[in-house]
């Protein structure tokens, strides 16, 4: 019997595919967001509210991931924004190869921002890099203040945490200060914005942050082209 040393990362195949996606996005000059949350936290609604604010200045394209239906891509397309739907069947997350397939038929040419809305799930998507620049997580405050500690990985790997539905705080029994403390403990480096995409409360902080990020990245891309 032979013992063979392997030492290979199990995520390697996905990493390789994510790297290829990255090349496509770079060629298109797009900044890419992997948008994640539990089901029903308000990803699509936050995305709609975000598009409304930034669409006059930036070109947006959206890739939607769901187990079934085209509800979400229909909603985005109704706003005049190009959208492509991935239906995973029973797979609980998007992986880089599914996104690669989508890019083959839906190249995001000329899009300043590509948003990939992941399958609603607070656990699985966190382990699969899609080739994104930024991970943005939506968490609805009514899910409970303890969740960052119970599901730490997605919070920890996100660049931005949007605490949505703060208009429901008075009815939820959740203390925003406790939730904020738990998010900061799990990810002290994240940008955190308490928002309500329904009432618009707090949205200006997030939109300002994103606009700045998109401007900085397009300047960097321009200077790379010049050199």
């Amino acid at each position: 019997m032979d013992r063979v040393s392997v030492v290979t990362d199990i995520r390697q195949a996905n990493q390789n595919a994510a790297h290829e996606n990255r090349k496509v996005f770079d060629k298109c000059g797009s900044c890419v967001i992997n948008l994640m949350s539990a089901p029903g936290a308000g990803k699509t609604s936050v995305l709609e509210a975000t598009i409304r604010e930034i669409a006059p200045s930036f070109k947006v394209a959206v890739i939607e991931g769901d187990l079934e239906t085209t509800f979400d891509s229909d909603r985005i397309r109704a706003m005049g924004v190009p959208a492509h739907q991935i239906t995973t069947g029973s797979v609980c997350h998007l992986d880089a190869r599914m996104v690669a397939k989508a890019l083959a038929v839906f190249p995001p040419d000329g899009a300043d921002l590509v948003v990939i809305e992941n399958v609603g799930n607070l656990v699985c998507p966190a382990e699969f890099n899609l080739g994104e620049d930024l991970r943005v997580m939506v968490f609805s405050v009514v899910e409970g203040a303890d969740k960052p500690k119970k599901y730490p990985l997605m919070f920890h790997t996100s660049d931005v945490v949007l605490l949505n539905k703060i208009d429901l705080l008075p009815y939820s029994g959740v203390a925003l200060s406790e939730l904020l403390r738990n998010v900061v403990e799990v990810n002290p480096r994240a940008a955190i914005f308490p928002i309500s995409c329904r009432t618009g409360e707090g949205m200006e902080g997030w939109i300002g942050w994103l606009t700045q990020e998109l401007k900085t990245r397009s300047r960097q891309a321009l200077s790379t082209l010049k050199t």
Partner: protein, 121 residues
């Protein structure tokens, strides 16, 4: 239940190694699994039982070594085993992760390929 796709990735890596070494079968796969990954050990063991069927590792054993979450403060160098609090309790700096994110095929054990003329005798 993304453990099934993790199990399939493990089997892909093992099958590629088995092919490189012209082995007849994979008998053991040793995996290092960090405590701060989105993978549940029991779910992975269960998924592996299903995914290995019909592969070169159909009767292989999956050995999982758990790797604890360890952190270090980039500012004051204090190391610790974080309870999912990534702020240094001594100086308040965000902590770096030393270990706990591993998801790695460490080694495999292979059964020698049967040489046809020996097998037929």
């Amino acid at each position: 239940m993304h453990e099934l796709s993790i199990a399939e990735s493990i089997l892909d890596i093992a099958a590629a190694e088995a092919a490189t070494h012209h082995a007849a079968a994979v008998t053991t796969i040793k995996v290092r699994l960090g405590n701060f990954t989105g993978v549940v050990r029991e779910a992975l063991e269960f998924a592996f039982e299903i995914a290995r069927q019909g592969t070169v590792a159909a009767s292989a054993t999956l050995e999982i070594e758990s790797v604890p979450l360890r952190t270090r403060c980039p500012s004051c160098d204090m190391t610790g085993s974080s309870d999912f609090c990534f702020i240094c309790e001594r100086c308040g700096t965000p902590l770096d992760i030393l270990s706990g994110r591993e998801m790695q095929v460490e080694s495999i054990e292979l059964a020698e390929e049967e040489v046809p003329w020996i097998a037929s005798r």
